[in-house]
């Protein structure tokens, strides 16, 4: 299964900012059941807000990972804030903009905004604000050991980086899953 909730990275500035885009398509299977028609109303297909958070976690997580040349295993540890203002409906695009607030050896905190882009006229509306906390898992699990290989940044993420034109940020000795 492809567990990737951003389609393309537009900006990736190490230790600073990542901007990514996600196009919401009615062909996505999950929209069939979210939300189905009831006796009271017709179907209302909308991308679940939890997956919008996942999209932000992927954009911000790639930013945190790239900031240390993907040497750390970056795990989403906490959703510090998640506020939503619009529904993520098919036919629209989500514009994820993540910036690093704090980065150190143990982890990072990020601030993120999501805008809903209407392709009809290019207008944008604030869709969500999502602040996250990431852990560098090898630095925070005293006594526990994880595999040497970086199991967080799978081939899916590395392919996304390459397809978005940021393949040069992947270290030449990086071992992909």
């Amino acid at each position: 299964m492809r567990w990737i909730w951003i389609d393309r990275i537009l900006v990736l500035e190490k230790q600073h900012r990542c901007v990514a885009i996600k196009n919401i398509s009615l062909a996505e299977e999950l929209l069939r059941d979210h939300l189905p028609a009831t006796e009271c109303r017709p179907a209302f297909p909308v991308m679940p807000n939890t997956l919008v958070i996942e999209g932000m976690a992927q954009a911000a997580g790639i930013l945190v990972g790239a900031s240390n040349d993907f040497t750390e295993k970056v795990i989403l540890a906490k959703i510090s804030k998640a506020s939503f203002f619009e529904a993520a409906r098919p036919g629209f695009s989500l514009h994820f903009d993540a910036t690093i607030e704090r980065l150190d050896r143990q982890g990072a905190s990020t601030h993120g905004t999501v805008q809903l882009i209407d392709p009809e006229n290019g207008s944008r509306k604030p869709m969500a604000e999502i602040d996250l906390l990431f852990s560098h898992v090898d630095q925070n699990m005293a006594g526990l050991e994880f595999p040497d290989r970086n199991f967080v940044f799978t081939g899916q993420f590395m392919d996304l980086l390459r397809q978005s034109g940021f393949g040069d940020l992947i270290p030449t000795d990086f071992v992909e899953e």
């Binding site: 540890a77 906490k78 704090r102 982890g107 905190s109 906390l133 852990s135």
Partner: protein
């Protein structure tokens, strides 16, 4: 401009309410971050980041909460902190009251030394330095 102890407490209270999802009235000076306010290990990292932002200070890793002490056999034997370990903790945690912990020295009880008051004192020390 100096910041009063009440102002430090108020900001620390706000940080802990946001980081731990607790109510204002739960954040009293004697409340233990882990036992009373439900802080887990990752919450301490979150709290450090939020304190930095709230007070405009830089907190180095291990400065507020020492790392690499409780998992170092030089400082811990049979799940209890040794004399050498206590000396190390007192040097690295001048803002904490370690007297109660010194009686048991059980590693499992270490997180109890981090009360709201400990955090306030730590921030005050940082602001004065």
């Amino acid at each position: 401009m100096t910041i009063t102890q009440e102002e430090v407490f108020s900001k620390v209270q706000e940080v802990l309410v946001d980081a731990l999802g607790v109510d204002d009235d739960e954040v009293v000076p004697e409340a233990k971050l882990a036992t009373d306010l439900g802080a887990e290990s990752i919450d301490f990292l979150d709290i450090v980041f939020r304190l930095e932002k709230a007070f405009g200070i830089k907190i180095d890793q291990g400065e507020m909460i020492p790392d690499n002490v409780l998992n170092d056999p030089k400082y811990v034997q049979d799940e209890k902190v040794t004399d050498h370990g206590m000396q190390e903790l007192r040097e690295r945690l001048p803002h904490a009251d370690l007297d109660a912990f010194d009686e048991s020295r059980n590693v499992d009880e270490f997180s109890d030394i981090f009360t709201v008051d400990t955090v306030v004192k730590f921030v005050q020390t940082k602001l004065e330095s």
